[in-house]
């Protein structure tokens, strides 16, 4: 960390080796495009390198990098769709359905012929974002709320709706499988 503050090139290489793949895969889940994800992560590392002196708590390096990467992905996403970044007014109504690891959790693991990542790509950005951060980056709801600067209730609501949409996709795939056999 100190070496990074001192602008050591080897420290930056080490940082990219350590976090590059994880950030890239998360960015890919968010952006659905390999090149855009690579560019978002590239910009993330450049910003981390140039702004590292502003990071006061060294233990939060990973969290800070994720925040930068998420913002980069949002910037890229905004260029083609503003509406996906705004929550719908009905989101709050799903709060009551929020449960810890319901049946959808199992669906995640038993995804059939199709790939789970492809299914996540079919979600709207706001749901893809929380599903990715919760299930892939394994952040808590509180952490996601801090990263995205929105309330925990909204995160919970988006998780519920994202999971419901994934379940619908899974059921659709199941039906197609049954018709195919």
């Amino acid at each position: 960390m100190q070496e990074l503050v001192e602008k050591n090139e080897a420290a930056l290489r080490h940082l990219m080796d350590q976090y590059g793949d994880e950030l890239l895969r998360t960015a890919y889940l968010l952006l659905k495009d390999r090149q855009a994800a690579e560019e978002a992560v590239q910009d993330t590392f450049i910003e981390v390198y140039t702004q590292i002196s502003k990071l006061r708590d060294r233990d939060k390096l990973r969290s800070w990098m994720f925040r930068i990467m998420i913002n980069r992905c949002r910037m890229r996403q905004r260029t083609w769709s503003w509406k996906n970044l705004f929550p719908s007014s009905e989101v709050e109504s799903w709060l009551e359905d929020e449960q810890q690891h319901g049946p959808e959790f199992q669906i995640f693991l038993e995804w059939r012929n199709g790939r789970l990542s492809d299914a996540i790509h079919q979600l709207a950005y706001i749901y893809r974002e929380v599903i990715t951060l919760y299930y892939y980056s394994e952040m808590s709801i509180q952490e996601i709320a801090e990263q995205l600067n929105i309330s925990e209730n909204t995160i919970k609501a988006r998780l519920v709706r994202g999971r419901n949409q994934l379940r619908s996709l899974w059921e659709k795939e199941e039906r197609q499988d049954e018709q195919g056999t």
């Binding site: 090139e9 290489r13 895969r25 590239q42 590392f45 910003e47 038993e110 789970l116």
Partner: protein, 116 residues
């Protein structure tokens, strides 16, 4: 039926699916953070990002717009002292204020009329 290998968490499943994805832009990052050639330095300068705080920037732009909007009005009613320098000082007569030369011209005109 084509089931995926058994995994215990969604993260493991996604990692399994995305295992071919590796970050390959290390060189591009280093070119930007440690430019070695003149071209790379120019590119770094060209791509330099600046942050502009929205509220102060918008406030400044609004202020400039207001000033530009009001400027023609204020200039049309402005009283430039040099503009009236050839009209002499202000004098008071019968409770009103006049430019001295204007007053004298008006008085002379009245005198001419009365002589006619």
């Amino acid at each position: 039926m084509n089931r995926e290998p058994s995994t215990s968490t969604p993260k493991q499943k996604l990692d399994q699916e995305l295992k071919s994805l590796h970050f390959t832009y290390q060189t591009e990052v280093l070119k930007r953070t440690h430019p070695s050639s003149w071209g790379e330095q120019l590119r770094m300068f060209w791509n330099y990002e600046i942050e502009i705080p929205v509220i102060p920037a918008a406030g400044t732009l609004t202020l400039i717009a207001v000033i530009l909007f009001l400027h023609p009005w204020s200039s049309s009613v402005s009283h430039n002292p040099e503009q009236f320098a050839d009209r002499g000082p202000l004098i008071e007569a019968y409770g009103n204020t006049y430019w001295k030369k204007d007053y004298e011209r008006a008085v002379a005109r009245l005198e001419d009329k009365t002589q006619d």
